[in-house]
Assembly symmetry: D2
Amino acid sequence: MLTGQEYKDSLKDGRRVYFQGRLVEDLDATPGLAEPLNAVAEGYDKYHSSAPDAVNPVVSGPRSVQELRDRIPELMELDLALNVTYQSLMTLVVAAARMQDSGDGRVPVYIPRINAYVERARRDDIRIVECITDAKGNRSLSPGKQDDPDSYVRVVERRDDGVVIRGAKLHISAAALAHDMMVMPTKTMKPGEEDYAIACAVPVNAPGVHITNTTYHPLHGDPRDYPVSSHHSIPDSMCIFDDVFVPNERVFLDGETEHAAVFAHSLGLWERLGGVSFMVQQADELVGLASLIAEANGIARVQHVREKIDEMMIHATLLRAALEAAIANARSTPEGYFYPDDMYTNVAKYQGAVQFTTMVRHLHDIAGGAVVTAPSMADFDNPTLRPFLDKYMGTGGGISGEYRSKLFHAIRDTTADAYGGWHLVTNIQSGGGLYAQRLVTRRNYDLDRARALALKAAGLSS
Amino acid sequence: MLTGQEYKDSLKDGRRVYFQGRLVEDLDATPGLAEPLNAVAEGYDKYHSSAPDAVNPVVSGPRSVQELRDRIPELMELDLALNVTYQSLMTLVVAAARMQDSGDGRVPVYIPRINAYVERARRDDIRIVECITDAKGNRSLSPGKQDDPDSYVRVVERRDDGVVIRGAKLHISAAALAHDMMVMPTKTMKPGEEDYAIACAVPVNAPGVHITNTTYHPLHGDPRDYPVSSHHSIPDSMCIFDDVFVPNERVFLDGETEHAAVFAHSLGLWERLGGVSFMVQQADELVGLASLIAEANGIARVQHVREKIDEMMIHATLLRAALEAAIANARSTPEGYFYPDDMYTNVAKYQGAVQFTTMVRHLHDIAGGAVVTAPSMADFDNPTLRPFLDKYMGTGGGISGEYRSKLFHAIRDTTADAYGGWHLVTNIQSGGGLYAQRLVTRRNYDLDRARALALKAAGLSS
Amino acid sequence: MLTGQEYKDSLKDGRRVYFQGRLVEDLDATPGLAEPLNAVAEGYDKYHSSAPDAVNPVVSGPRSVQELRDRIPELMELDLALNVTYQSLMTLVVAAARMQDSGDGRVPVYIPRINAYVERARRDDIRIVECITDAKGNRSLSPGKQDDPDSYVRVVERRDDGVVIRGAKLHISAAALAHDMMVMPTKTMKPGEEDYAIACAVPVNAPGVHITNTTYHPLHGDPRDYPVSSHHSIPDSMCIFDDVFVPNERVFLDGETEHAAVFAHSLGLWERLGGVSFMVQQADELVGLASLIAEANGIARVQHVREKIDEMMIHATLLRAALEAAIANARSTPEGYFYPDDMYTNVAKYQGAVQFTTMVRHLHDIAGGAVVTAPSMADFDNPTLRPFLDKYMGTGGGISGEYRSKLFHAIRDTTADAYGGWHLVTNIQSGGGLYAQRLVTRRNYDLDRARALALKAAGLSS
Amino acid sequence: MLTGQEYKDSLKDGRRVYFQGRLVEDLDATPGLAEPLNAVAEGYDKYHSSAPDAVNPVVSGPRSVQELRDRIPELMELDLALNVTYQSLMTLVVAAARMQDSGDGRVPVYIPRINAYVERARRDDIRIVECITDAKGNRSLSPGKQDDPDSYVRVVERRDDGVVIRGAKLHISAAALAHDMMVMPTKTMKPGEEDYAIACAVPVNAPGVHITNTTYHPLHGDPRDYPVSSHHSIPDSMCIFDDVFVPNERVFLDGETEHAAVFAHSLGLWERLGGVSFMVQQADELVGLASLIAEANGIARVQHVREKIDEMMIHATLLRAALEAAIANARSTPEGYFYPDDMYTNVAKYQGAVQFTTMVRHLHDIAGGAVVTAPSMADFDNPTLRPFLDKYMGTGGGISGEYRSKLFHAIRDTTADAYGGWHLVTNIQSGGGLYAQRLVTRRNYDLDRARALALKAAGLSS
C-alpha cells in the first residue's frame, strides 16, 4: 500500500492536466488542485499498512444487510477518490459476473482480464475514477447519427495488441488525481454501434489523454470565508481521448453492444448508497444551519420560522425514510453482495433534488441578507474593525459577532456561492438527471397492483 | 361471539340516533346508515365462531416486527368498527400499564377496572368507538377559559357510584353502529382542569346520549355511479353527553390531570399503522386510476401524461418508503407490543396530506372533463341511449363506453364528489391536522445531530 | 322579448332530454333541472321589455377598454344561458368578419346566413349553447384516423337544402335549457377532413338530437346544506346528433378546413373575460371563507393561520393582476370589439387552475374536520337537538352554532362535495385544459426578447 | 455636473473604506471595487452636461402614468448609484411633504433643511445611498430592549449645532462609491424610542464612519467565465457610525417617533418600480437562457423540456402581469408624483422570490451538468485544448463549443456561483423579506369584499 507521499509522487507521471488554460506542472503547487490532492493523500495515510500483502479494507462489498447499513457512516468519511475506486472495482466484479452469466462463447475473454485488473489495482493501491458521460453532441440523436462520430467515445482502430479510442468524457470528478480512468458506455448501444460499446481502463498519463479541470474551490480571499469548500473541493474534468492506445489486458468490452449497459448498471448498484446517504446528510445539515442561525438571530421561537424548520425536518426525514426503506429492502447480487433497493433510492434522489431549492429558500428566508453581506473573517482580523463587527454582528445573549458571521459564511459557502451553485446543479444532474430517476421509478413501481386496486374501485374486477 | 344478525338486534337498545333531523327508528331501514350497518354485520359473520369461549382473534396486538408487518393487509380488509374496537382495547391495555408504571398510590384503582372491562368487551364481542375530539369552543382558549365550560367534556357531578358527564365529542366515526363509546381527553390537562381529565366507556344507549349523523353515502341516484362510496361509507357523528351517568366500573380516569394524555397517546400507537397503510393504498389507487384512464383515453404514451403518472408513482413510493421505514424501525411497548415508529409515520401522514390535492389534480388533468360529465349508468340502461353512449364514450381499440364511464365514475366518486371531498378534508385533519404532524416531527427529529453537522460545516466544532 | 314563463313554455317543443336514464317529460317537474330552468327564466324576466323591437341589451360586444372593464360585474350576475348566448352571437359576428377578410370567393355565402341568424336570434330572444368538444375517441389520433369515423361530429350527407350531421358533443353546459346549439369544430382540420369542418346552429328539438344530463345539483337532503349548489347548478350534457338534418340557412361552414378553427378562436375572445373574472371571484370567495371560519374557530390571530390566509390573498391578487393586465392591454377586433389580452388571461387560467387545490387545502386546514361533519340544518330544526347544536357548534364571543355550521356547509358545498369536485375538474379542464393554456403562452410570449436578454448576458450579442 | 473622472477624484476624500480586512487606499486600484466605481463614473459621463446650471434629468419623479411606464426601460439601464440617488431625493421630497401635512408646529423645521439639501445635492451632482437596515441585535426585541442599546442607530449626544450618532447600517449597496449616506429609521418607533427616530444625511468621509465591503465580483480567474458579474457587481457594505457628528442642516428627523416610518415608507414608493422591473427582466432572462441552451443541447423539441420552458414563460408573464397591473392602477402622491400600486408590486415581489428557485431548477434541469463543468474560456485560449473543446462542447448543426460554453458560463454566473447565490438570497430579502410582502398584502387586500362574497355563499348576507 502507498503512503500519502508515495501517492503524490506517483502522480508525477507525465500526465497532461490543465487548469485555467495552462498545463499543470505540479499539482501540489496549484491552488484549487493541491487541496483535494492532499485530501486523497490523507486517505492513503489513514488506511496505510506496511504489511507486504495489505490491501485497503474498504475496497470490498457488503455481504449482508447489516454490513450495508454499517457502511453508511464509513462512506460519509471517505475521500471521494477512494470511494469511487471502491465503486469502480465492485462495478467490474459484478459486470464480469453478469457477462459470464449471459455467456455466449465470446465474452468470457474479458472475465480473466477483469479479475486480473481488479487484483492488480487492489495490490497496487491505485485510485480509479469513473468515466461515463460522453460529450453526446445533439442529445436528440443517437451515437451513430451525430454530425461528429466522436461525440461518444469510440474505437477508431483495432490492433492485435489493443484498441485506439477517441472521444471525450465529461463531468469526471477527481480525474486529475487518479491513476486510472474506468471508461464505460453511457448507455445501451444498438447493433451498428459496436464501436461505441467500449469499456476499458486507461492510465491518466497515457499518451493522447488530456484532462481539463474546473473547480468550486475558492481561489481568492480568506479560506475561513469558505469553511467547507476550502477543505472539501473536488475538481471536475473533461477527459479527452485523442486516439489513445489501450492494450488488450485493459479492454473489458469491445463491440458487444448487448453488454454495453452492464457496466453503468453495475456501477448504479454501488454509487447509490453513498449518493443517497449524502443527500440525507445534506438535508440534515441544512436543518442544523437553519436551527443555529434562527437561534443566533433571536427568532428561534417565531412561529413561521419554526414551521419552516419543521418542513425542513420533515423533508430530511422523508429522505431518510427512503434510505431506510432501501436498506430494509436491500437486494443481493448473484455474487452475494448487498445493495440498496433501486426504487427507494431513486425516489430519494428525485425528492432530494426537486425539494433542495425549496429547503435552501427556507434557510435563506430564516437567515437574512447577511448570508451574502456578513463581513469577511479577514475584516475581523483588522483591529480597528473587530470591535465594531463583534458589536454589530452579535445579537446579545452570548451570540458573538464572530460566531454568527461564521454561521453566515457556512450558509453562503454551502448554498449561495460557487460550492452551493455546484450543489444546485449536481443534485439534479447526478445519477442521470431527474428524467433518469423518473424512468427507474416507472420501471420498478408495481403498476399492476395499482391498476388492480383501481379496477376494484371501479367495480371492474373480475 | 355474535353473528351479524345478533349484532344488528343488539343495537335495538333504545339509542337516540338522529339522521337528517329525525330520530332514527330502525337503522336497518335508514338509507345511509343501513349500508355501513350491514358492513359491520358482515365483519361479525366473517370472524364468528360458535365455540363458547371464542373471542375475535383480531383483537390483540402484534408481538414482533413481522407480526406488525403482516397486520397491514388484514387491516386493509377490516370493517372500520372492528378496526377501531381493536385500537380501543389495545389503547386501554397500554394506558393501564403506563398509569401503573407511574403509580403514585392513587391511580391503580383504575387498573383492575380496565382489565375487567377489556375482558368483558372481548367476551361480549362488542364494538367500541373512540371519542376524542371535543367541541373545543374557541380554539385559542384552554378548557377552563371557555365562555361555555362544557366546550370540553367534563364531570359535572361525582356520586358514590359513578360520575355524571356533560359535553360533546365530534367527528366520531361509526358511533351509531357501536355498543360503547370510549371517551378520553383530547389532550394534556393542567392542574385546575381536573373535571376535564375524564376517561370512561359510555354505552351508546345510555340516557342522555344523543348521536347525530352525517355521511357521504350517496342517498340519491344510481349506486353504480358511486362504485366506492355506495359500499364503503361510514357515518360521522357528534356524540352529545347531556348529563350522562357513568358507573364507577366504567370510569378509567377521573381527575388525574397528569394522566390525561395517556389515553390519546396510547391510541396514537395503534391507529397509525392503519392510517398510513390506507394513505399508501390510496396513493397507489390514484396511480392505478390515472394509468387506466390514460390508456382508455388513448394518451398513455403522451410524454406529459407519463411524467404526471411518474410523479404520482414517486409520491406513492415515498409514502410507502416512510411506512417501510416505520416498520423497519418499529418500537415496542414495555408490554411487548410492536408499533410503527412515530416520526416516520408522521412524515408519511404529513406528506400524504399535503400532496394529495396535487395528485388529484394530476389525475383530473389526465382524465378530462368526463370525470364530472360521464353519463350515469342508468343512462346506459336506457335502450335508446345505450348504443350512443357505447359509441361516443368508447375510444376504439376495445375500450367500450361502459368500461370507460365506469372509470370516470370511480374517479369522480373517490376524488370529485362527496366522498372525494371527505378525503380532501380528512386526509388533512385525521390524526390532529398538519400542525400535529409538524409537532411530532419537531419532537422526534434528531436536531442535536443536525446542529452538530452544521457547527462542523461552520468550523465551530470544538 | 320573452318573459320567463314564455321561455319555459317555449321549451315544451318535443325535445328528447334525458336525466338519470329516463326521458324527461317536464323540465319544470324534474329536480336537478327545474332549478336551473328557473334561473334562466329569471334572467328572461330581469331583462324583459315589452317594447315590440326590444332586444336584450347584454347581447352586444364592448366597444372600448372601459366598456370591457364595466362588463365584469355584469357578467358575474348573468345566468349562464344568457352569458353563453352572448358569447355565441359575438362569436358568429367575429367569425363572419374573419372569413370575409380571408375571402377566397367561396366562403362569403356564409356571411349573409350568419348575419340573418344573429339578427333572428336577437329578435326571437332565444338562448344558444356552444357545442365544441367532440367525443374524440382515441386522443392520440386525428379525426380521420379513428376506429369510429363519428368520433368527431361530421357531415354524413349533403342535400340541396342542407346537410345531415352525425356525432356527439360533450361537456355542453345548459343544453337542455337552450333553444339552439351552436355546433363548431373543436380544432383546426386538415385537408381530407372536410366532413369535420362543419359549423351550424341546430335546434335542440331537431329530430335525431338526444341530450343526456348530469348535474352536481343536490338531489337529496336539505337545500340549506348546499347553500350554493342548490341555487346555482347547471346541468352538463352530451349532445348526440343521430343523423340530424340542418337546413342550409343554419349552416355556417361546411368543408372549408382552412376556416375550421375560426369559430373556436372567435369564441375564445368572448369566453375569457367571464372565465377569468369568475376565477378571480372564486379566489376571493375562498379568502373570505377562510377569514370567516378562522374567526369563527377563534384562530384568526394564530400566526400559521394568518400566513395561510396571506398566501390565499396573494394568490387571489396575482389572478386579479393578470385580469387587470389583460384589460389594460386589451385588444380590439377589426370590427372594433374589445377583448382582453390572450396571454394574460391564459396565465391567469393556468395559475388559477394549478393553485386551486392548494388554496382549497389551506381552507380545509384552517376550517377543520367539521367541514364534512357539521350537523345538517335539518338537525337544527329538531327541537331536541337544536340547543345542543347551538351550544357545541358555537364557539363563544357571539359565534352561534348555526352561523358556524352554515359556514361549514358553504365550505363543504363549494370545495368538498359534488359541486366542489366539479370545480376541481372544470377549473383544470375549461378552456382546453392546462396543456392548451401552455400552448397559448408559448405562442404569445415574446421569446425573441428573452433570448436577446440571455445572449447579452452571455456576451454573445452582436 | 461632474464628469466621471471628477467623480472618481471626489471620492479621494479620506473615507475609511475596508475590503478583505484592509483599509482601501485607492478604490480605482482595488479589484472588486474598481469595476463598480468605473460603472458609476460611466453613469456620470453618460448624463454629463457642461452647462453651468445643468442637473441630472433622471433625478425627478414621474408626473403621469405614462411617464411612470416610460421610466422602466430607463431604470433598467441606470447604474445602481444613480438609481438610488434618484430614489433618495424623491424620498426626501415626499417625506417632507408628508411631515408638513401632519404638521404639529414642531416638525416644519426639517422642511427647509430637506429642500435645501435636495437642491444642493442636485446641483453638486452627488451620489447618495440609502441606509435603512440596522444591526438589529435580537430580532425578537425592540430597539430599546436590546442588550446593546446601539443595535439600532441612535443619537447619543445632542449639541447646539448637531447630533452625534452611533450604530451600524447593514446591507448597504454601493456605500463605498457614494458621497452621502441617507440614514433613516428602519421602522416605526414608539414613545420612549426618541433616540432611534433619527434621519440624516451623513458624508461617507465623516469622521467616525467606517465602511466594510463584500462583493460577488469575481476576484480570480477569467472575467469571461463571469460574463455578467465581472461587469455588473455592486459591493455591499456595513456602514459603521462610531459617534459621528451630523450638523443640524443635515438632520431631517430627530426624536419625533410618530414620523419615524415616513422616510422608509416614502422610499418604498420609489424603489418598487425598479425592483419589480428587474425581477420581470430576470425572469425573462432565465427563459431566454433556457431556450438557448435547450436549442444548443439539441433538446428544444423534447416535450418535457418544452413544458419546463412553458412554465418559466408563464411565471415570467405572471410577474409582468403584476407589474402591468401596478402601473395600470398607479397612484399619485399629494405632490403629484406617480408610483406603482403597492399591492400588485408586492405580490410580484413575493411570487418572484418564492418561485425563483424553481425557475432556476428548471433551467439547470434543461442545461445539464456542464453548467458547472464547462471549460474555462482560458482553456479555449490554449492551442492544444481549443480544437478538442470546440469539438466536444459543440453539438453539431452550427452550435460551436465556444458558443455553448459561453451559455453555460452565463447560466453558472447568474444562477450557480457567487452572483447567482447573491440573487438567491437578495430576491427573498430585498424590500424586507417575504414576511414584509405578506404584511403589505394583508394591509391592502380588500378583505371586506371577500368576506361579503363568502357570507353570500353561506346564505348569511343580510
